[in-house]
């Protein structure tokens, strides 16, 4: 079922993107209405400044619609949208000194701690505590958690957005969950 919904949505996006490229205003509106809420949520979640998030979301859409001019209209829309979003957000965070680089070499990390890392979430009594823990995570991991927990994207789509192989996305997710669990242990 999930597969079917994903495919349907991708196909719908593709048709709308073609329409937008051909100058169909209603297609532009439909793409915007369909994706703006999630996009704005991502911008807010990452940037945490309302006006900055709204500006970023507008800029992302502007880039997308400009890109459609050169595009053949067949590229998967959502991965493209969120790739642009990721680039814009990372760039904004870097320029304002709010991007923390993370350990690039993840080979030493044992992935099997992932299950234990998730279980404390079930015992949480304070949502605010979880939000604060999320806020303390390095930005790259927060991005990974958004794309895996919030959006219903396929692994290949997430890999494309994050610019990493699928296997590495998994490791990123495990690492993010582990760090989250460590943050939750903090008083």
């Amino acid at each position: 079922m999930e597969l079917m919904e994903t495919d349907d949505r991708s196909e719908l996006d593709r048709r709308l993107a073609r329409g937008a490229k051909d100058g169909d205003r209603s297609a532009v509106d439909a793409l915007y209405r369909s994706h703006y809420p999630d996009l704005l949520r991502l911008c807010r979640y990452m940037l945490r400044i309302d006006s900055e998030a709204e500006d970023a979301a507008q800029e992302i859409f502007l880039r997308i619609f400009q890109g459609l001019v050169k595009d053949d209209g067949d590229r998967p829309f959502r991965p493209w949208l969120y790739s642009v979003a990721r680039n814009v957000i990372v760039d904004l965070l870097r320029r304002s000194g709010r991007w923390r680089e993370i350990e690039d070499d993840l080979r030493h990390l044992a992935p099997n701690y992932a299950t234990e890392a998730v279980e404390p979430l079930l015992r949480l009594e304070s949502a605010a505590r979880l939000r604060k823990a999320l806020g303390r995570l390095p930005e790259a991991y927060r991005l990974t958690l958004f794309f895996t927990a919030w959006l219903d994207l396929t692994p290949s789509e997430i890999a494309e957005i994050l610019g990493q192989p699928s296997a590495r996305v998994r490791i990123h997710l495990f690492r993010a969950l582990k760090l989250l669990e460590e943050e939750l242990r903090e008083p």
Partner: protein
């Protein structure tokens, strides 16, 4: 996955959607259907994901980090969509985010805010050039102050009617002009009678390079003085006008976007600014900005991919601000690239960071030149700089020498290759503007 149970890492990946579309997905689902332990574990993991999802959804703004002091509301413009960005930013930056220090001092010798605020007052209608200025009742023998009498048409012997409302109080005639340009002092006398001083030295809105802030401008001298006088005259004419009505269109140098709109400036803080822009590439989109001030409230309605409406108090000295903008940068003026280190290039497209808005206090006009084109339009060339900007704008302004109405303006920022032409299809002083123009648009 082991024979007996789903591997723990596979289970997490599965719960977080990282097995969708793979063979792993079906295998895990099949196993969970037959294994209560694994099904239970997957349920817990999915619940954990939901908790995480809720936390992401509920992440409040501003709770974790206060807004950085330097991060003022910002707009960033892609050069390829220059007109669009210009449109969005122009009024917002100009009206909502001027530096607090801007225009702190009242300009001496003028009553340009609202004639009704200075009592007793009448209006002097300049017969020759149909401009409106304010003045004390001349029959009282008090000094008559002119709100920027304007150089054009003001010369010894010029006669004015002094009116209040529809009542003609008398006439005054300029007897002597101490200076030959707008910032000078004038003397007037009633026909056949006594002299009265008309107007004090006026500090220009847009200081020229080297002029002292807060003091009356000295008459320009040396090369370009004549051109600078024209600049002052245009500025004065705008300030003295009862109303200004403009219809304009803009063409960016890259020819992708087209922008145009209308601008109406009335008395008592009333204004109507509308800007429409269309992206004229394969993708077409129409966006608009509407800003209306009824004298007390300024309502901004920006329709891009969504429509936003915001209200603010009408900024003090709205007329001065808009005239300063109109005479120096034009209606798209506040969009200024900042220093080089804030200009970057991404995917071959230059971008400009204008989060700091327009620092009006640092604005200077200089290097004036004047010429006339074949069609009889006066051409005023000058540069406008703002301290902190690496490069000044070169401005070329076409105007009607007889009426000082603007016809066309070209802004050039040579280093980064921006050129914007603002064409005034209509530019009228002192026309009647219907009251409906200044009625706030509906929020819906």
């Amino acid at each position: 996955m082991t024979e007996s149970h789903v591997d723990r890492t596979q289970a997490v990946a599965h719960a977080f959607g990282l097995t969708i579309g793979t063979e792993e997905f079906s295998a895990i689902e099949r196993h969970a259907a037959a294994c209560a332990d694994c099904a239970h574990r997957l349920r817990d993991l999915r619940r954990s994901r939901e908790i995480l999802r809720t936390a992401i959804e509920d992440t409040p703004l501003g709770e974790i980090e206060p807004r950085p002091r330097s991060a003022r509301p910002r707009s960033r413009v892609l050069a390829a969509a220059l007109a669009a960005g210009l449109c969005l930013a122009t009024v917002g930056v100009a009206l909502f985010r001027p530096p607090a220090s801007a225009l702190k001092e009242k300009i001496p010798g003028t009553t340009r805010q609202d004639p009704a605020e200075s009592t007793p007052t009448g209006k002097i209608q300049a017969i020759e050039v149909s401009r409106s200025v304010t003045a004390d009742r001349p029959s009282s023998g008090k000094a008559v102050s002119i709100d920027l009498g304007s150089l054009q048409g003001v010369r010894p012997g010029s006669t004015f009617e002094v009116v209040r409302g529809s009542e003609v109080l008398g006439t005054v005639t300029i007897a002597k002009m101490e200076e030959t340009w707008a910032a000078g002092s004038y003397h007037a006398r009633k026909p056949g009678g006594e002299s009265a001083r008309v107007g004090d030295a006026v500090r220009p809105l847009v200081p020229t390079a080297g002029s002292a802030q807060g003091s009356a401008e000295q008459a320009p001298q040396g090369p370009g003085a004549d051109a600078e006088r024209v600049f002052r005259s245009i500025e004065s004419r705008m300030l003295g006008a009862k109303s200004i009505r403009v219809r304009y269109s803009v063409e960016g140098s890259n020819d992708i976007c087209r922008t145009g709109g209308t601008f109406a400036l009335g008395e008592s803080g009333k204004m109507n600014y509308e800007c429409l822009y269309t992206i004229r590439a394969d993708v077409r989109a129409d966006y608009s900005t509407l800003a209306v001030s009824n004298g007390t409230t300024l309502r901004m309605k920006v329709a891009t991919l969504k429509t936003t409406v915001s209200d603010a108090d009408t900024p003090p000295r709205l007329r001065e601000k808009m005239v300063r903008q109109l005479v120096s940068f034009g209606l798209l003026g506040p969009v200024l690239p900042r220093r080089d280190d804030q200009i970057r290039s991404s995917n071959g497209v230059a971008e400009y960071d204008m989060r700091a808005g327009l620092p009006w206090d640092e604005l200077r006009a200089y290097d004036f030149k004047r010429s006339v084109d074949e069609g009889g339009s006066g051409i005023l060339a000058f540069r406008v700089k703002v301290d902190g900007l690496l490069d000044p704008y070169a401005v070329k302004l076409w105007y009607d020498p007889a009426t000082l109405r603007l016809r066309r303006r070209v802004l050039v920022l040579e280093k980064v290759g921006i050129q914007v032409a603002e064409v005034y299809d209509e530019f009228a002083f002192d026309g009647e503007i219907p009251n409906e123009t200044f009625v706030l648009p509906k929020k819906e």
